[in-house]
Symmetry: C2
Subunit: 643 residues, 2 copies
Amino acid sequence: MSLPHLHRFSVPSLSAEQTASLETAARLARINAVTMVAAANSGHPGGAFSSMEMFLTVYGVADLTPENCSGLDRDYVVVSHGHTSAGVYAALAAWGFFDAEEAVAHFRRCGSVFQGHVERDVPGVDWGTGNLGQGLSAGVGFALAQRARGHDGRVYVLMGDGGQTKGQLAEARRTAAKEGLRNLVALVDWNGIQISGQLDEVMPFDLRALWEADGWEVVECDGHSFPALYEALRGAGSRGRPTVLLCRTVMGWQGGIMEGTHDYHGKAPQGEVYEAVVKGLEGDPRLLEMALARRKTPASFTGRKVALPVPVLDLGEPQTYGETKADNRGAFSRALVDVGRLNCGREGRTPLLVFDCDLAPSVMTNGFRKECPSYFVQCGIQEHSTATASGAAAAAGVVAVWADFGVFGIDEVYNQQRLNDINHAGGKTVLTHVGLDVGEDGKTHQCIDYVGLLRNTFGWKLVVPADPNQTDRATRWMLGTPGSICLAMGRSKIDIVADESGAPVFAGSYRFEYGRAIRVRKGADGAIFALGAMTQPTLAAARLLAERGLEVSVWSVSCPLEVDRAALEEGCATGHILTVEDHHAGSGMGSLMALEMMRLGLSARFEALGVTRYGDSGTAADVYAAMGLNAEGIAQAFGRLRS
Amino acid sequence: MSLPHLHRFSVPSLSAEQTASLETAARLARINAVTMVAAANSGHPGGAFSSMEMFLTVYGVADLTPENCSGLDRDYVVVSHGHTSAGVYAALAAWGFFDAEEAVAHFRRCGSVFQGHVERDVPGVDWGTGNLGQGLSAGVGFALAQRARGHDGRVYVLMGDGGQTKGQLAEARRTAAKEGLRNLVALVDWNGIQISGQLDEVMPFDLRALWEADGWEVVECDGHSFPALYEALRGAGSRGRPTVLLCRTVMGWQGGIMEGTHDYHGKAPQGEVYEAVVKGLEGDPRLLEMALARRKTPASFTGRKVALPVPVLDLGEPQTYGETKADNRGAFSRALVDVGRLNCGREGRTPLLVFDCDLAPSVMTNGFRKECPSYFVQCGIQEHSTATASGAAAAAGVVAVWADFGVFGIDEVYNQQRLNDINHAGGKTVLTHVGLDVGEDGKTHQCIDYVGLLRNTFGWKLVVPADPNQTDRATRWMLGTPGSICLAMGRSKIDIVADESGAPVFAGSYRFEYGRAIRVRKGADGAIFALGAMTQPTLAAARLLAERGLEVSVWSVSCPLEVDRAALEEGCATGHILTVEDHHAGSGMGSLMALEMMRLGLSARFEALGVTRYGDSGTAADVYAAMGLNAEGIAQAFGRLRS
């Protein structure tokens, strides 16, 4: 079967012949889709059939090919209703991304790349989805990255209709309209059916009004007509606004008994039903036997390993902070401005893109905004969409930095950050207000769980710098390092960590190294491991203990997810380990160290000091004292451990 | 000063005299608000001044008094823009909820009830907010609970305009419209200014169009006019739909230099600025000195302790499952139907309210829907709003059960569940698809972090039942127990846990007891602690080990957040502890036990077996095997521990 060449709308409109060959392709793709679902005895054929013409048309016109799909300068395609994977794989195979028989045989088979929900390991898939509502935000991120990189490509986002009620979608729509992302095209598979029944019964909404209210160009079209889809896609964006195609479709279209019902939303047709569906499509039901036979053999197609774009940046020279108090967020801000100044708009450098959710003055990205205005994206109070968009932007080749308060940048968007991790997105999230340090804002704003949240992922790196010197160095390191990285800090001005001679510890020859704990004080009577800016009160506690005749070593930990084994072993040698963190005492650094000690068979008397109830609203100093996390409280806790 | 009696709209419209006394009250309340911010040197005066007439009118007309505010049958008031707390406290004091001077003196002071963001410990505050976008969902939950309880009260939700872009708000609007919550009235403080500037600059949106698109009655009114607010509130709901009042206001209204600017959004006026503001309001700036003096003394007003409503339910008789395989979600479903049948519509019983997000067939709440249709709420694919609404409904006196997949019921809505916890809401969340057991749906749907998420809270209880018998008993226990409880289970049909004689362990005289681990096999060569339905493969592993000459005890753990110390000590006595969970190996039960062991100084050779990478897509059996979490994998892991 040969498909017409439609790449980047190479013809003005589809000829009858081209349409006929696309219709043949759709028929064969439906046979492949239903056969893979039957072979796996699992999957979502109804939506796969419903969206098939949309998939084939979009993958046909997009500047996205087996050759260019792992590069950056091209079109992007996001399938937000990732459960229609059987349809996506069948369509991608039709366009030559891989052998259809491989997908048919190994769909939803353990170890196969053809997972139940689409993943980036499959060439042609730009975003792993399945949790509804996030795809359009990913599309926004891709489109913003394209603009920042100066590439004039398009971004297509395909969606189901049931998930149109997800609030994140509205956030993404508004960001796209505000940013004038005319190269962004959304397509909604408007079949009117979701799991629990008809859309209007489950949760009524006015699809057209919602997109219009948020400033999009709305086009209705027949979602099963190739000429209509082609024409609508070709004209998209001509009015300078993002465009949505509301594609009228029928659930299970051309699937015989599966047509017009939600019975096969998530059910595999088998036996006579399968045979009838395939025969209705002029196919041979023996395909299933062949697929089942091949399913017993190892997959020959293993997909691709998603490569993290490596930033090309001049990271500048670290700044050193001396004796006066300074805030970590200020140090982050100045380092960001410095790197922005050195790179933004420079030929050959990776563009930075800084995202804000209406908190720039507090998270201190205003300086960057002033220095590099066209690389600053104001997203308003829309954290869910921003979390996904910033991740996707990173995946599309910019250094994406989203700064927000801790409770918004991770608590509110944990699942978006989890899916960024699964997607190997590589965004940088900077939390400027974590811990009890937010003081007066009280318990709803005290982010005491960022370690406890990110420890649930496998890819995120987390850095909690101790002082402005370490913040400066960690910020530059973060900007230059591929992968998803979170930098977390409090808001207050704090002391610079200094050695016994008064020299700054995190300056001079110090270089930030991920995972390494730094001993900032020596002592043989015990070891206290302090997370980030708890280093300073812990040093003060060590001085109090010294007055009481106990010499303790103090370790400053900036990477709680990565236990420094050598440091831990040295600490255990003292016989007493206290961990100190401005974080939930049962889920943070201390508990990660305890796990490591148990696994390694290390022993010491041990206590994990931290936050043991939702905190108060008051000055940070008062709130810390009330929680036993000031110098005196830490000293007392160590005293209890020794007693 | 005496305020007019407006309770439940006792007059048809405001007289000139009544208006004048309200205006006087507003003037005095503004003086109190700005003085408390100045005394704390922290807070948000701009929005407090902007919303003052709204606060005073709503608290005046609502059936919410110092006397009835801790009961259930009354009106509810939610202030979603909780950072305007100074205004809320001043208005509540004006209506007699507490002494104004107490709030003025102790605002944002450590240990005081007058936190920076409103909390339920303050009488008159029905929902603790501060994280924007959640208030309307709480209002939806209150209104649904009122309807279920047969109380004809109103629910008022006050909001800022900057947060109108939060996607969760759109979800709440749709649910309210679909459910026809005519007693729900929202008020938007439309001052046009947010932190980063004018609304139109930060993130443009069409406020009226959004509310209209989602089916609300929209009324615009002057937000600084008491007669206009009174009239608009009185007429709300008359068309059978929820109503929103878009209240045109001026940021910092009547605050002199604070008026019309975002400079005092989050900044305390001091010195001459403070004096000018107070003098402009015909007040005496010496109030601040008095407040500062009183601030040095202990607070006399300590607020209230939020009481958890105690369910009154017939919990029926536990059902016993015998030899054939059965699924935990089916057992949950049948127990829910049983309790529903015994209680719904019965006089004197607490109503159940079951929430669904378009997954009823999978989470198996369809049976309840059929049995008790008027106690079932279909919320569509709108998890953020549903999480908050179900929590708030529980706080308002129903037994609220929200069942969803794990990745939606906790991952996607972690922050909503955190705030439910802070609010002592008491909702029940049932996760029917957790762990690798979802199999083919793959990594985006494998919830391997529910323990790791809930361990970050202080109030949530978590139960992971081992088999249908325990699920039945845990479900009944959960429904009858106050507080926020999460029940988590996989999707597959599994074996019934039986003792060596073949009798079901979790039946007969067994009663579910929160926090208790159950030894299901004895052995002296080691102890394996298995979470929930990992008990069965662990028992199989124990049999494999017995064939290899090792007799291990097996403990079935259903409450991972609550380490059973006695069981742990017994386990340690064997010298070898292996924990087994279908969960991230670094954040779940095993790491909680390791922390407890370190704290208690218990020693044993230890390993935490679990999920160590994002899982595959395939049959559950294959996916478990690939992760080393089947019987053979568990036996091998124990073998490594012994070697």
